[in-house]
Symmetry: C2
Subunit: 331 residues, 2 copies
DNA sequence: GCAATTGAGTTAAACGTTTCGCTCACAAGG
DNA sequence: CCTTGTGAGCGAAACGTTTAACTCAATTGC
């Protein structure tokens, strides 16, 4: 009914309408104790009828906090990250935080640029899955809480899945299905999670599982010549263990094109349980990471840290689980 | 070498180091004409050695512009949108704009909440793929440039692919391969792009292609009972035309589970050419949308609009193209 | 009954910019 | 010589908050 809503009400407007000073309005709105119940009520009413929303930039300037966080990812196109992003954004929003996105497309310089953009905008904290092995020095300079995701770096807190456990689970599953000679399509050497998956797998039953061959592949699933050759020859491997689902699916596709049947001729397992794992043919047996939980917990962790909690750099490791589907044959 | 870099230099610091007033620093940095070349040089030097970066919140407060934009999407998990998001973020960053993400997960209320969060943070503009058929009234209230993506709404500018053309291309392709009786797995009724694809297809050769059956499916590719039944009976259809790739791939998967071969027993085509279209088995014949261009152009359009260009609400329609792969058989 | 304490509210400064209006020196025009 | 104009630069206000310091009255403690 009223003339409200025009061009954003300010705290001053609320103050005059409630008949108190701006300071009181601010105190009332922020739940400070030094304001009586009568005044508080008037302020709240006035604020509501005016549709008052605090001006974030002004708040930011005064308090130094923006209530925004950065989310820096290497490749949104990878379902692993898009699911993560979804979880992060959703949780952030529930906490009243705005999620600002940087997609570095796996380029270290773009990442740096993005980080600096975030710093400039004064985000209160950053959730980050770093692309480079070594964290840029800029880091010290940007001086806000950081929570890494999926990829630990010394001295930083991280939320990630128990990759080694996933590797062990896979090894166990291989054995149970009679596979004792396997090929490895590991992820990149400089990505720690790839290493841990590999290590979990090979060290689980070193005497009962032989590694027939092993080649490194990018997490984007593009198969280099070497990998393609290995897949064709196989050298007695009855199971190929891929560094992630993207790689596994690429491999399945490649095998299919060359008339080798999965799982009849060779079995295959992935890692991540991206949503496509259950859609491809055959449906992929893989390790499910708690993607939602990783996203959620990382925001929670960051949020605590932003609210002044001491940095004890915990590494939060979440359990993974085996999802049996159709891509491994029992022999 | 110097003591610089400590806790963010302000414009004042630059001023004293350059031996001029803050006003002059501001003018120099913003390329205003009323500053001599000597002074300008001194300011630039000082700014560089101090590593000065303007405080965005302060700027925002004074000018009312944040140099941030909102990106509101229905489902990041859908590769269509994640590719779009990647393009948008990348282009935005190149323009010095920060992209703030909202993923409504197809929920109208979450979308609204997100929009209001963006408004509160004062983003300068919004790129938006709306989930509801009808735009919420809040819209007028948020009062900033908006560019819609993929889903036109009366009175708003939009960047989208020529969906009708895609439909026609598909019809043509069907005919060329001898399919004259088809089943339709259209997208949701309330999504305009779905309608246009459908319309383009059915109206291309109304007398030469018969629609054997037709069922509506969500764009997330989850097949309702009705769709599953249709896929099994088929009623003489030799080709099924899916509303998007997700639906097509789900359908292929479902068919495969029920031992009907694609494309031997039935052909199938999709729409979007998401990255998975070339990975599934068989590789999917589909319509490629220029996802990168859509993202890029929408940011450009928004940017113009933000810089005061008159709102002439152009609907930017980009051409699509047919990508022939392995999922349709010639009969 | 008086000092001390408390509760409720106010004033004003500060955050880091941009920008309006001003001054000042100098040049040009008559 | 005086006016007018111009280029370069400065001072200060303003943007919308939060918060420290303060006032003033009412209440408490003795």
């Amino acid at each position: 009914m009223a003339d409200s809503e025009r061009s954003m009400a300010t705290i001053k407007d609320v103050a005059v309408r409630a008949g108190v000073s701006v300071a009181t309005v601010s105190n009332a709105l922020n739940g400070k104790p030094n304001v009586g119940s009568a005044a508080r009520r008037k302020v709240l009413d006035a604020a509501k009828t005016l549709g008052y929303r605090p001006h974030r930039a002004a708040q930011a300037m005064r308090t130094g906090r923006t209530r925004a966080i950065g989310l820096v990812l290497p490749d949104l196109t990878n379902p692993f990250f898009s699911q993560l992003a979804q979880a992060v954004e959703s949780k952030a929003r529930r906490l009243g935080l705005l999620a600002c996105l940087i997609d570095s497309q796996n380029a270290a310089d773009a990442e740096l640029e993005g980080l600096s953009l975030l710093a400039q905008h004064g985000v209160d904290g950053i959730i980050w899955c770093p692309v480079g092995a070594r964290l840029p020095r800029l880091l010290g300079a940007l001086d806000r809480p950081i929570v890494l995701i999926d990829r630990p770096r010394p001295g930083f807190s991280v939320v990630h899945a128990n990759n080694a456990m996933g590797g062990r689970l896979l090894a166990q599953h291989a054995l149970q299905n009679g596979h004792s000679r396997v090929g490895l399509l590991c992820g990149p050497r400089n990505v720690q999670s790839a290493q841990q998956r590999r290590h979990g797998f090979v060290s689980a039953f070193p005497d009962r599982i032989q590694i027939a061959w092993e080649v490194r592949v990018g997490f984007d699933g593009i198969l280099p010549r070497e990998a393609r050759e290995a897949l064709l020859r196989r050298r007695g491997a009855t199971l190929v263990v891929a560094g992630n689902d993207l790689i596994a699916i690429s491999a399945m596709r490649f095998l299919h094109e060359h008339d080798v049947q999965v799982p009849a001729d060779v079995s295959i397992v992935g890692f991540d349980d991206i949503s496509w794992a259950r859609i491809v043919t055959p449906r992929l047996t893989t390790i499910a990471q708690p993607l939602g939980a990783i996203g959620t917990r990382s925001v929670e962790l960051l949020h605590e840290r932003m609210s002044g909690a001491q940095a004890q750099n915990p590494a939060l490791m979440l359990d993974v689980s085996l999802v049996e589907r159709d891509s491994v044959r029992s022999i």
